[in-house]
């Protein structure tokens, strides 16, 4: 018989404040080690994190979709024999000279300033070799990139750095930038270490200042004005050049409709995985919606306006592989733009750079000095890129040889396009633009809801 009272069961021991407490030692889900590191860092320097590249958090992506390739109910094309066209035409709505590309994969806008001249040159050479376009950035057009890019899209940004009528006329298309996926609603940033004398001269800024550019255009405000601005650019260029309107993916349906109503030939939607050379981390990780979610919304807007055939749609933001591109086309995009993937093809995050005389040179120590390691580096904003891509340092820049790097990017683009045509043939399509939503199924409920395709093994589209 147990005749002990509750007081009897209490064993003698040290006070709980000395014993460390009886609670299990589990980390908090809310205040995990990353959050605590963020808070500690803020306490030490009083300034938010700034970095390059795109969102690193796990998001629903095109990887969450699969193709329902042909079998009995669909008839495939011979994968290694029958032709599958990847020709892509953009901007035929109003422009007398639409853009004609051999592949539906374009190079996104990245500035000279954020990128080295060698990197811009290499991207231009690779794009030209593959019959696709490159895009200028927040800083104007360099003669080198005009020379190396057969098809060059000229960005009209809020800052208007380097913007001038001669380059406008020399461009093949014009892209009015309202925002980008990494920082919709935010302006550009180029820290002083990258504002070299050439960059400063092109941007009409003092050398070495921390350049923070505007997020609103200086000469128009709102969608009604945008229509007049587009008309002005058309008048200046005699209605020859396609006009793209690029936006970060936020209120996609409304934004696409307004851009179309304003007269865009092509709408570019940049999802939250889109990269940047430098912006606040809070922007990169917490603004905009995933590319997978943005694309169907843009298509919906075009469908509701009966403009699918008239207005081109380019999707960007974390596009990496041929599978990504094929899925984007199947969901309704006419083309994709790639930025970060193109930089990785240039050698971004490689442990080595290639020197013509010395061969491969290990630069892991250079990454360490930045506080990074190869494979995890996002220090584009520092201007100290160990492989010569996102730098204005004349010594670092030499680590990227434009001709060699152009070959890498060309190969990469070729692989991606081959993957697209391979998948298209397997779906029975003789043109990559014939891929359709019906060719897809989703592996997760989230992806099914965002992409508006059935969850695999069911006919269920969440919300439908």
């Amino acid at each position: 018989m147990n005749d002990r009272s509750p007081d009897d069961r209490q064993l003698p021991g040290p006070p709980s404040d000395l014993a460390g407490g009886p609670e299990p030692q589990e980390p908090s889900a809310s205040f995990d080690s990353d959050v605590m590191a963020y808070i500690r860092r803020a306490t030490q320097c009083g300034l938010y994190d700034i970095r390059g590249m795109g969102a690193k958090r796990r998001l629903p992506t095109f990887d969450d979709l699969v193709f329902l390739t042909a079998s009995a109910s669909r008839y495939p094309l011979e994968g290694y024999r029958e032709q599958c066209s990847s020709r892509t035409v953009l901007g035929a709505r109003f422009a007398s000279r639409p853009i004609e590309l051999d592949i539906p994969i374009t190079i996104a806008g990245m500035s000279f300033g954020s990128l080295s001249a060698s990197a811009k040159d290499a991207l231009g050479r690779a794009a030209s070799a593959m019959g696709t376009s490159t895009t200028t950035g927040d800083g104007g057009m360099t003669p080198e990139e005009r020379e190396s890019s057969k098809t060059l899209v000229y960005q009209c940004l809020p800052s208007r750095y380097g913007f001038n009528p001669d380059d406008l006329r020399a461009a093949d298309a014009i892209e009015i930038v309202l925002g980008q996926g990494a920082k919709p609603g935010g302006g550009g940033m180029l820290l002083g270490q990258k504002v070299s004398s050439r960059v400063a001269g092109m941007r009409t800024l003092p050398e070495g200042i921390d350049q923070r550019s505007a997020c609103r255009h200086p000469d128009w405000t709102g969608p009604d004005d945008l229509a007049i601005k587009i008309e002005e650019l058309r008048e200046i260029t005699d209605w020859e050049k396609p006009i793209y309107v690029k936006m970060g993916a936020t209120r996609v349906v409304d934004d696409v409709k307004l851009a179309v109503k304003a007269g865009a030939d092509v709408v570019v939607i940049d999802g939250m995985q889109g990269g940047t050379a430098a912006t606040q981390q809070v922007f990169i990780e917490h603004t905009g919606i995933p590319t997978l979610a943005a694309l169907p919304l843009a298509v919906e807007a075009l469908e509701e306006m009966d403009m699918v055939e008239d207005v081109g749609l380019i999707i960007s933001g974390g596009i990496r592989t041929g599978a990504d591109v094929a899925k984007a086309l199947a969901l309704g995009a006419d083309a994709v733009s790639i930025g970060q993937a193109a930089l990785i093809a240039l050698g971004c995050n490689n442990r080595c750079y290639h020197d013509a005389a010395e061969g491969w040179v290990d630069v892991e120590d250079d990454y360490r000095q930045l506080g990074a390691t190869p494979g995890c580096c996002h220090h584009c904003h520092t201007g100290l890129c160990p492989v010569g891509i996102t730098t204005q340092d004349q010594h670092l820049e030499q680590r990227l040889h434009p001709e060699t790097a152009a070959g890498w990017v060309r190969n990469y683009l070729q692989v991606v396009n081959m993957e697209v045509t391979t998948l298209a043939r397997a779906c029975g399509k003789s043109d990559v633009h014939h891929l359709e939503r019906e060719d897809l199924a989703a592996l997760t409920i989230e992806a099914a809801a965002m992409a508006r395709v059935p969850l695999a093994g069911t006919s269920w589209v969440p919300g439908r």
Partner: protein, 230 residues
């Protein structure tokens, strides 16, 4: 004797006008173009790239003489937003008032407004010269990077906010200065510059009565203590 070409915009489209100015005018011997019945139409005489005198006889809309090079464009009336935006060279003269963002991002040339200019006049200025005989609205010369803006009348709130290397001169009252803008002493060299610019613009004002505003350059570099100043 000069050759004159006339366009009546009640009969000819803006597209036809601009196409003529771009393609047919250069080298044609025509050195004067008169445009009647503008009636608030936008994008007149944009993207010009040759020496020519253009007169727009009446009120006009947005983006008049946008991205102008070499041409001298005179508007005998008021204009809408962004007259002379991103102009590179030449002259644009407005005999009336100008709406918002006059001379936005202008890189060169001279923009003269005989009347008042609304808000954000000279925004993002990149080397152009702007002379306003009357007043300018709020946030004029916002983020102006290079060039000169002369305001003979009063300036609205937040003049020169986030200025870079552009220099502003104001003859009247300044409602308030924007972030990083400061008033500086008017030196003899400023007076000489003003006399020349006012004379070139055909605007009468006493150059010695102006106040000089330029950047204090305290926000050129990242400063977490500046809080909402930029």
């Amino acid at each position: 004797m000069s050759d004159l070409m006339e366009f009546d915009l009640s009969r000819v489209s803006v597209r036809e006008l601009n196409r003529y100015l771009h393609a047919d005018l250069p080298g044609s011997g025509v050195d004067r173009v008169r445009i009647s019945n503008p009636n608030g139409l936008h994008s007149l005489a944009v993207g010009l790239d040759c020496e020519v005198e253009i007169e727009i006889a009446g009120h006009a809309g947005y983006f008049i003489a946008g991205m102008n090079k070499l041409a001298n464009v005179t508007v005998e009336g008021n204009v809408g937003w962004s007259v002379g935006e991103n102009m590179m060279s030449g002259e644009v003269i407005v005999r009336g008032h100008a709406s918002e963002s006059a001379g936005a991002s202008a890189r060169g040339g001279l923009l003269v407004i005989d009347g008042n200019a609304s808000s954000r006049c000279g925004i993002s200025l990149k080397g152009g010269r702007v002379v306003v005989a009357g007043d300018v609205g709020h946030f004029s010369a916002f983020m102006a990077q290079a060039g000169t803006m002369v305001v003979c009348g009063n300036a609205g709130a937040n003049l020169g906010d986030s200025l870079y290397e552009a220099v502003l001169y104001v003859g009247g009252a300044i409602d308030s200065l924007g972030a990083d803008a400061r008033e500086e002493p008017l030196e003899a060299s400023d007076v000489e510059l003003l006399k020349g610019l006012l004379g070139e613009a055909g605007v009468e004002a006493n150059a010695e009565n102006f106040r000089r505003v330029a950047s204090s350059r305290s926000l050129y570099h990242w400063n977490s203590e500046a809080h909402q100043e930029y």
